[in-house]
Structures are given as structure tokens and as C-alpha cells.
């Protein structure tokens, strides 16, 4: 039996709801997560069901939220810490990268926390409510970084993140919150961390993407198919650890690689994937590795500026056609 038409946002709420129902060690803390139910209502109804001790409205103190979550995890709890917008994760960068990420390596203390929140642009949020900060953290050994693109994955990966023994950053794409929905299984399921998914099979080139840009990439692939170019589209789902096998298998099959991400260009995951592919599948490549990304600027506010900033299907199609010529 399937539950019809669950949004990406509702899938995240369900994951927290079910995990808190399953395990009293799971608690949620963040700004306005309780009585208000979160700025996007992702935690609506959780306080009512689980009470004040398990759903904790905190002061506006991102450093304290993460620090306290780590401290709680040392006593065996599994805290979920919400960033109201993921941009604010910059405020607790030190707690995440120096405290939580190094805890197990340095002194053998696992810190099973989940830091989750809305990331991404396309909703005219401006420079401080649109960020894709994943690569700051992909560069930090000790963390796991998840960027789900579908409602199914958002639920299954968040459950895996809560059960994981490491600090996991879970970047929800706010553009997808209410725009995508799908039938979810009624029963229990999880999605493994660190496994990419092939969303569309194709033999002519590989497009690797994640989060909201997966949908844009699939739109571009449909357009390319009209010209007889069959793109294989891979959804990374997890950025750290990266699923090298799925990436390399696809490149070995298509010999051409285009990487699409909404994150800015310099230092984005495309660079890392390009290095991986040239190191491990150089002989298989029939053309340059291309990338379609956002511009190397802050995320601008005004719609024409943000549209210029973001990748779109037309930009992906143009790059794919160029690559297909090789």
C-alpha cells in the first residue's frame, strides 16, 4: 500500500516523527521548531506529540545548538539540530568542523548528531537565505553530507542519518519542499548513506547532479532525447562519502561527463568528481569534463539576477550538445 502524494517537506517531517516514535533518544532542537513548528513547518506537530523535553525551542544561538547537540550525543542521545535556514550554519562552523567532526578521530568519541535545514536558491531568498554551503563540509573529514532530491530519499536518508553514529549534515532543498511529491511506501524503509542513484539510463553521456538540479538535469535530458542524445543522469544523493563506483561505472559506459550543481563553480563538487574521473577513468574519456554551475558570486536577490546566477535546463542542454560533438 502506498501513501499518495507525499511532499518532500512532509517526507522529512515523517522521518523525524517516525524516528522519535521509535526511539526516545531522538530529540529535536532549534529556533522556533516547537510551538511554531519551524519556519517552514517541517516540525509541525512534533512538540504536541513528543513534549517540551524532546522538542526544544532554543535561543538564537547556532553555536550553542550544535555544541549542546554534541554534548547530548555523548550521553547516548541522537539529537537533530535544525538550522532555520542553512545559511546560518556559518555561525556554528567551528562547532561542526572542529568539535563534532574531529571527535571520533581524536579521542574515539562518536557524535551522532544530525544538522538539518533548508538550503538552496530559486525562491528569491537573497544572499543570506539561499546558500548551498555543502562544500565547506565536504572538505571536512569526519562529517557525512547528504543532499536528497526526492521525497522518498529525503525520508529514507534522514532516517539513516538519525541512526548513523557520525555527525551528518542533511541539506534539504527548500525549492523542492512543496514543489515535488510522490507516493511513498506506507511501511518502514531507509535509504543507505553513500549510494548514488541512476535516475535515467543513457549511453551517450553522463550527467551527474544532486538536489534541485537533479530535476533540472532530468528536464534537460528529456530535451536532449528529442535530438537523439541519450543522457544517463546520476543523482549523487550523498556528497560525503562520494559514491565513486557509480560515477566511474557510468563514465566508463558513456565516455563523456557533464556535472551540474547549484553550488558556485570554484571549489564545487564538480572539481572533485573531475579529478576522480581523470585519475581513475582517463582512458575512457572521449571529451573534456564539463560543468554547469551557479556563478562565482553571492546569490543575488532580484529575479532576473538570480535567474542569471542559477543553472537551468537550457544551459545544461547547451553544454551537453557541445560535449556530444566529441
Amino acid at each position: 500500500m502506498n501513501v499518495a502524494e507525499t511532499t518532500y517537506l512532509e517526507a522529512i517531517r515523517q522521518a523525524m516523527f517516525e524516528e522519535m516514535d521509535r526511539d526516545p533518544a531522538v530529540v529535536l532542537m532549534g529556533e522556533d521548531v516547537g510551538v511554531y513548528g519551524g519556519a517552514f513547518k517541517v516540525s509541525a506537530g512534533l512538540l504536541e506529540r513528543f513534549g517540551w523535553e524532546r522538542v526544544i525551542d532554543t535561543p538564537i544561538s547556532e553555536t550553542a545548538i550544535i555544541g549542546a547537540a554534541v554534548g547530548m550525543s555523548y550521553l547516548g542521545l541522537r539529537p537533530i539540530a535544525e538550522m532555520q535556514f542553512i545559511d546560518f550554519i556559518a555561525c556554528c562552523f567551528n562547532q561542526i568542523t572542529n568539535y563534532a567532526a574531529k571527535s571520533h578521530y581524536r579521542w574515539g568519541a562518536p557524535a551522532p548528531i544530525v544538522v538539518r535545514g533548508p538550503s538552496g536558491g530559486g525562491v528569491h531568498g537573497g544572499p543570506f537565505h539561499s546558500a548551498n554551503p555543502e562544500m565547506y563540509f565536504v572538505h571536512t573529514p569526519g562529517l557525512k553530507v547528504i543532499c536528497p532530491a526526492t521525497a522518498y530519499d529525503a525520508k529514507g536518508l534522514l532516517k539513516s542519518a538519525i541512526r548513523d553514529n557520525n555527525p551528518v549534515l542533511f541539506f534539504e532543498h527548500k525549492f523542492l519542499y512543496r514543489r515535488i511529491k510522490e507516493d511513498l511506501p506506507a511501511g518502514e524503509y531507509t535509504v543507505p548513506i553513500g549510494k548514488a542513484a541512476v535516475r535515467r539510463e543513457g549511453a551517450d553521456l553522463t550527467i551527474i547532479s544532486y538536489a534541485a538540479m537533479l530535476h533540472t538535469s532530468l528536464e534537460a535530458a528529456a530535451e536532449l532525447a528529442k535530438d537523439g542524445i541519450e543522457a544517463e543522469v546520476i543523482d549523487l544523493r550523498t556528497l560525503l562519502p562520494l559514491d565513486r563506483e557509480t560515477i566511474l561505472a557510468s563514465v566508463k559506459k558513456t565516455s563523456k561527463l557533464l556535472i551540474v550543481h547549484e553550488d558556485t563553480r570554484t571549489g564545487g563538487i564538480a572539481g572533485e568528481i573531475a579529478a576522480l574521473v581523470t585519475e581513475s577513468a582517463f582512458e575512457n574519456l572521449d571529451g573534456p569534463i564539463l560543468r554547469v554551475t551557479s556563478l562565482d558570486t553571492p546569490v543575488p536577490y532580484s529575479p532576473p539576477l538570480e535567474e542569471r546566477f542559477l543553472p537551468n535546463a537550457a544551459k545544461i542542454v547547451a553544454a551537453a550538445r557541445e560535449l556530444a560533438r566529441y
Partner: protein, 407 residues
């Protein structure tokens, strides 16, 4: 009030302080022999604060020491070899050579959380420990330390504020050793007493002579039990002095000579020996016996530490992630059902008692003053037990006067 310490405990305190000091003297020798891999950070002059604060805790309580809290680690049950091997970067050290100094801990037995170099971060972390302990029904207290310099960080504010609004069973020891590396306390904080900061968080505070170990123990015991009682966090300012540079490489020429002389006359070990003599709590033979025990133990621990190998290079690649190596479970001391629906379920609305109105200015000012004094009765700037002779000034009266004058 008479001291709550037994004769045996008095001698134990001397043992810990002497072990702390002699261990560090040994570490200085190792540093000069180039056997310490990185820098060496000592706590000369601060032993009474380290030992006395940790001594006030029960076995189930949690600590997160700072780099100079060697004494706290020893009291908590770590061995000198743990500290020696950390500094010498050996495979036999608690972190297997992955980190140095007092950057280690033990979640299972000694309930000790590792510090990191970024100051202030332990305050929110230990607030979380305190909150989790309460959540699990464990009745524990979490304690950490911060220096005068570290009290300037944002993490200090965020952590202590969260602890205060959560009424977390948390004790923060502000170890005012007068110097943050080369910067005097006056350049860190424009306050004579760092304990005054507690007032801004609406929490209780004490000031204690950090070089008087019995005063530190008595004050800390009161603070710990107060925090355990559920009244929220407590701040203790221990006034002491860092008698060496920031680390061994630092000759501390920026410290006025007279300042060192002032504090040298207040050396915590000398003071305590004198006090034990005056109160006839030991004999010369007992002192000799403890000193000999300390020397013997350090020699034995040093031999064990020096025989430890360096880690195998491939260890560098291991342990970044916890994938199946630890089983994570909580020690529940209350029925889990209390935290599960339907028992946990609530009416999700705020109860707002005070609308924050200002329409009656005079009344509201009077209320604010009244609140200040009632808070002081409940803790701010309280004087600890008279037995702690050098502890706490009577700050409450002064503060009320200041609050009134300001309105």
C-alpha cells in the same frame, strides 16, 4: 560552619596538588630534553583551582577540562602516564597519538569530555551534557572551566545563556589567571570581577580565592549541589595567577615582576602546607610520606610512558568515522514512557506570564529592583560557607545599590 572535609580528605587534596605540581615539573624536564613533541602548557600556581573544583564532584558527574586542568584530570582518575604520553605523542596515549596535551577524554568510565583549542566551545557542549543527564534522569552535574580570556568568546555567551534558559545542572568555573597569553584581564573584560557576568544570565555566582584549596572545595561543593538541585547553572570565579608563560616557549616578560612576587607569596601549595601545619592536620612524617609517594609514582609512570612506542604511520588513516566500532546507548534512569506519547504529549502553546509592558514606568522599575534582590537571595553573588574564609565577597548589597542607582 565547620569545614566539610575530613582529615583524610585534607591529606588527599595535598596529594593531588603535589602530584599535579611534580608531574608538571617532570614535564618541563621532558620538554627541555626535547621529548615533548609540541608545546607544553603548565598550571603552576593554579593547582588549587584545578584540584579543588574537580574534587567537589561525584563519580557520576561529568567534566570537560581545559588545557591547564591537569589536576582535574588526576582527581578524575586519569594517570600521570595518560598526560605524559599525550605530550610525548605516543601510541600508548589516550588518543593513540592523534592529539596531544589534555585533549583527551573518556565517555564510559571517567565521564570526561575532551577540550579543543578553540576556547569557549566546551560551554555549549557541557550544557548539552547537563541537559542530556537531566533528560535521562541521571541527576548529574556537568562542569567545565574557562579562562579570563576565553570568557570573551561568543561560544561562552551562547553556551551559558542556553544553560541558563534551560536551567541546566551545569557549573562553569571561570579560572581568572590574570593573563590570556600576553594580554592582561583588563584588556579582555572591563570588570573587576568576572563573576559579575553571571548576573547578565540571571544565574548564581561565587567568587573564591583560587589559591586556597579548601575554599575552592567548599565553594565548589555548594555550587555543584545547587546546580544538582535544579536551580540552574552556577558560575564560580576562581581568582588565581598563571605563574609561567602561556607555554614553555614564553618567558612571560610582559608580566610585571611585582605581580609574580605578589602571587608567589600566595603559592597554593605553600599556603596549604602552612594551613595543614597550623591546624595540626598532619605530621611531618605524613607529609614526607605523601611527598615520597608522589615522587615514586611519577618515576614509575614516567618509565611506563617513555617505554611507549610512537604510533604506526597507517593509524593516520583510521578512525575518522565511527562505523560499527562503538555501540551507542544511553543510561536511562527514568522510565522511557515519560518521554513517549501519549505521556509526553502536550498542549503546544506558550504560557506567557509577563507581557513585557512598560505602561507603568515607576511600577515596572520597582519590580525590576525587587526581582534583582530576590534573584540575589537565590544565588547571585552569594557568599559561600564561612569556613571558606577567603571566599566570596558580600556582593549582594553592593549590587542592589548599583541596580537602584541605575534606575
Amino acid at each position: 560552619m565547620a569545614s566539610t572535609l575530613t582529615r583524610e580528605q585534607h591529606l588527599e587534596l595535598y596529594y593531588w596538588m603535589q602530584l599535579n605540581r611534580q608531574l608538571e615539573e617532570q614535564m618541563v624536564k621532558l620538554f627541555r630534553q626535547n621529548k615533548v613533541v609540541g608545546g607544553l602548557y603548565t598550571s603552576l600556581g593554579q593547582e588549587a583551582t584545578s584540584v579543588g573544583t574537580a574534587y567537589a564532584l561525584g563519580p557520576g558527574d561529568w567534566i570537560a577540562p581545559m588545557i591547564r586542568n591537569i589536576g582535574s584530570l588526576l582527581v578524575r582518575g586519569f594517570k600521570p602516564r595518560d598526560i605524559l604520553t599525550q605530550y610525548m605523542a605516543r601510541y600508548t596515549s589516550p588518543t593513540l597519538g592523534k592529539d596531544g596535551t589534555s585533549h583527551f577524554g573518556d565517555l564510559k568510565e571517567k565521564h570526561t569530555v575532551s577540550p579543543i583549542s578553540m576556547l569557549g566551545d566546551l560551554i555549549p557542549v557541557m550544557t548539552g551534557v547537563a541537559m542530556a543527564g537531566r533528560y535521562l534522569g541521571q541527576k548529574i552535574v556537568a562542569m567545565t572551566w574557562i579562562g579570563d580570556g576565553g570568557s570573551s568568546t561568543g561560544a561562552f555567551h551562547e553556551g551559558l545563556n542556553l544553560a541558563a534558559v534551560q536551567k541546566a545542572p551545569f557549573v562553569l568555573v571561570v579560572e581568572n589567571n590574570q593573563w590570556a597569553y600576553s594580554t592582561p584581564v583588563a584588556r579582555q573584560v572591563p570588570l573587576r570581577d568576572l563573576a559579575d557576568r553571571a548576573r547578565a544570565y540571571g544565574i548564581a555566582s561565587y567568587i573564591v580565592d583560587g589559591n586556597d584549596v579548601t575554599a575552592v572545595v567548599e565553594t565548589s561543593r555548594q555550587a555543584v549541589e545547587r546546580a544538582r538541585g535544579g536551580d540552574g547553572p552556577v558560575l564560580i570565579e576562581a581568582k588565581t595567577m598563571r605563574m609561567q608563560g602561556h607555554a614553555q616557549h614564553d618567558a612571560a616578560e610582559y608580566v610585571p615582576k611585582e605581580m609574580f612576587e605578589y602571587w608567589k607569596a600566595r603559592d597554593p601549595l605553600v599556603l596549604y602546607e602552612k594551613s595543614l601545619n597550623e591546624r595540626k592536620l598532619w605530621t611531618a612524617a605524613q607529609k614526607k610520606e605523601i611527598d615520597a609517594r608522589v615522587a615514586r609514582e611519577i618515576a614509575a609512570e614516567l618509565a611506563i610512558a617513555e617505554s611507549g612506542p610512537f604510533p604506526p604511520p597507517e593509524l593516520a588513516e583510521q578512525g575518522v568515522y565511527c562505523d560499527g566500532c562503538h555501540t551507542i546507548s544511553a543510561d536511562w534512569k527514568r522510565p522511557k514512557e515519560e518521554l513517549m506519547p501519549p505521556r509526553a504529549s502536550v498542549n503546544p502553546n506558550w504560557t506567557v506570564g509577563d507581557f513585557g509592558a512598560l505602561e507603568n514606568g515607576a511600577k515596572s522599575a520597582a519590580r525590576a529592583v525587587a526581582n534583582v534582590s530576590s534573584r540575589e537571595q537565590s544565588g547571585n553573588g552569594d557568599r559561600p560557607a564561612p569556613a571558606a574564609k577567603s571566599a566570596a565577597k558580600p556582593k549582594a548589597a553592593k549590587k542592589s545599590a548599583r541596580a537602584k542607582a541605575g534606575r
